[in-house]
């Protein structure tokens, strides 16, 4: 059985034991195909967060993985390491016994929302730098897969910082089962005598997974796909009033803004650049495993990288809100194509042409991302004497914030 077949079988075995979340499981498997993968499962209690987490881990690690549970008392020694007392007493040397969680390739975090801030900080450092510190000693953490789950509705939740959640590549939502799915679950429980997790076989080794990760990393995406990924992320970051550095946030910041009906006005805190990396990894994995990844697939995949990263102005139902934003994004992309924006920019990249520049200006007042690129080029044309400063879009529209420079005075 070749590597791809093994991965497909891993997915199939998980799907056989977890009812009703086919697409989520597929994306979850795709997300494991890059080094140091991290997955967050979010759902109310009793919908199978821990079961899904264990099924995925068992498929790779068998029983050789470590679960740190936020619901129990977690001490630093259990997550990072503890001091070896005999060495200290006999030899006066501080030796650290690194915790099984640090050494294990399969890592699981149950009920992340209940983890205390100190444990969270240690795990955050591990995810950020691939290393842990204890008693002045450092240990490098080898490649791993980390699956976590949480119930944000839980009354005993700690509020973890946004950068911590940003370290998770994707976020999966689970829903309750429909009537027919409940029958399927009962049959499944009867079949495995209530031990669904125990019945999950180990399909491949971690070395197999590392080889798959290596092959996926060698996939080179074509510029069109990279462009779409970067566009999606940039559309969810760009702000004409520089919300990234502004103390005043939307919706107050958007009052009287030219783009008040655009996607940007719905986003309070913009996406980080990790979103681009996470989406790129998913697209590469899909190309490797499924053989192709179309534009529509990229837009659909964006759904999994957004919920834990975006902070929206108004949130009714995060998954419905993100679907709506992605639908707006789809319309925006069609709009750009219809206006031939990229063809205009391509012409202007070759050389300055005033009639085309006028078309570009018309397009720029409808699109912040396009305006950013045009304004960058305007700066160059002003320096070269092709355009007067008072003729530029940034001067005429008062979009000085879009004039990106290394140092802002």
């Amino acid at each position: 059985m070749n590597l791809k077949d093994k991965i497909r079988r891993w997915e199939k075995e998980v799907k056989l034991r977890f009812i009703g979340h086919e697409r989520s499981i597929h994306v979850m498997i795709l997300n494991q195909l890059h080094p140091r993968s991290t997955t967050l499962i979010r759902a109310p209690h009793g919908l199978g967060k821990s079961t899904l987490m264990l099924l995925v881990l068992k498929g790779i690690c068998g029983d050789d993985f470590v679960v740190v549970s936020g619901a129990s008392e977690v001490k630093r020694g259990e997550v990072v390491g503890r001091l070896h007392i005999p060495s200290l007493e006999k030899e006066g040397i501080e030796r650290v016994l690194w915790a099984a969680f640090v050494k294990s390739r399969g890592k699981a975090l149950d009920e992340v929302n209940r983890l205390n801030p100190y444990t969270t900080a240690n795990i955050h450092h591990l995810m950020q730098f691939g290393e842990v510190w204890a008693y002045g000693k450092k240990a490098r953490v080898s490649d791993y897969l980390l699956v976590a789950n949480e119930n944000p509705m839980d009354a005993t939740s700690f509020i973890h910082p946004q950068p911590f959640y940003d370290r998770f590549d994707i976020c999966i939502f689970l829903r309750s089962l429909t009537l027919s799915e409940k029958f399927q679950l009962q049959e499944l429980l009867d079949k495995y005598e209530g031990n669904i997790v125990d019945s999950m076989p180990q399909i491949l080794t971690f070395e197999d997974l590392e080889e798959a990760r290596r092959q996926v990393s060698e996939i080179e995406l074509d510029p069109d796909k990279m462009g779409i990924i970067n566009l999606i992320v940039r559309d969810l970051q760009a702000c004409i009033r520089d919300k990234e550095n502004s103390e005043v946030k939307p919706p107050t910041l958007c009052e009287g803004c030219h783009f008040t009906r655009d996607i940007c006005s719905r986003i309070k805190e913009p996406l980080s650049e990790r979103a681009t990396v996470a989406l790129t990894n998913l697209v590469k994995a899909a190309e490797w495993l499924d053989g192709e990844c179309k534009m529509d697939d990229i837009l659909q995949m964006a759904f999994w990288i957004l919920p834990h990263r975006l902070s929206l102005v108004k949130t009714k139902n995060i998954s419905a809100d993100i679907r709506e934003i992605l639908e707006m994004e789809r319309v925006k992309m069609a709009d750009r194509d219809a206006r031939r924006q990229w063809a205009i920019l391509n012409e202007l990249m070759k050389k300055f042409n005033y009639p085309i520049y006028r078309l570009a200006r018309e397009a720029a007042v409808e699109d912040v991302v396009f305006a950013e690129e045009l304004i960058k080029m305007e700066d160059k044309w002003v320096r070269e004497g092709l355009l007067r400063k008072d003729e530029t879009l940034s001067s005429q529209m008062g979009w000085e914030n879009l004039r990106y420079r290394d140092v802002i005075f």
């Binding site: 510029p223 069109d224 990279m226 639908e327 319309v331 069609a334 709009d335 219809a338 012409e347 990249m349």
Partner: protein
């Protein structure tokens, strides 16, 4: 310095949706590529977005795909919202005009009475 992949992205997108220059004076007219035109001829129908945004002549049959329909719906919603906002502003301005006219009239009347 621009990334090579960024340039390639622009080039590829420009190939998919080309910009044909037909400069008459300073005016640029968008034209669909020869292939697109042939494709359309074969299909015997035209894209509604082309006619709305680029002023192309509508063919015998008009196709509206899901993306175009949602785009039009979004645009219509925006315009309706703007329309309603303008109406509210107009109503407010009308009230203001009546109020100002009335106050001007009262001031004049008061001043004339004072003079008499």
């Amino acid at each position: 310095m621009e990334s090579e992949k960024y340039r390639e992205f622009l080039k590829k997108r420009a190939e998919n949706r080309p910009l044909y220059k037909n400069i008459l004076g300073e005016k640029i007219i968008f034209e669909v590529s020869k292939e697109e035109r042939e494709e359309k001829h074969q299909r015997g129908s035209s894209d509604i977005l082309e006619s709305i945004l680029l002023g192309r002549e509508i063919g015998r049959n008009v196709t509206v795909d899901r993306e175009a329909a949602s785009f039009l719906q979004y645009r219509l919603d925006m315009l309706e919202e703007e329309n309603a906002q303008m109406r509210r502003r107009m109503r407010f301005m009308k009230i203001m005009i009546v109020f100002l006219a009335f106050s001007t009239f009262v001031t004049f009347a008061y001043m004339i009475m004072r003079l008499i």
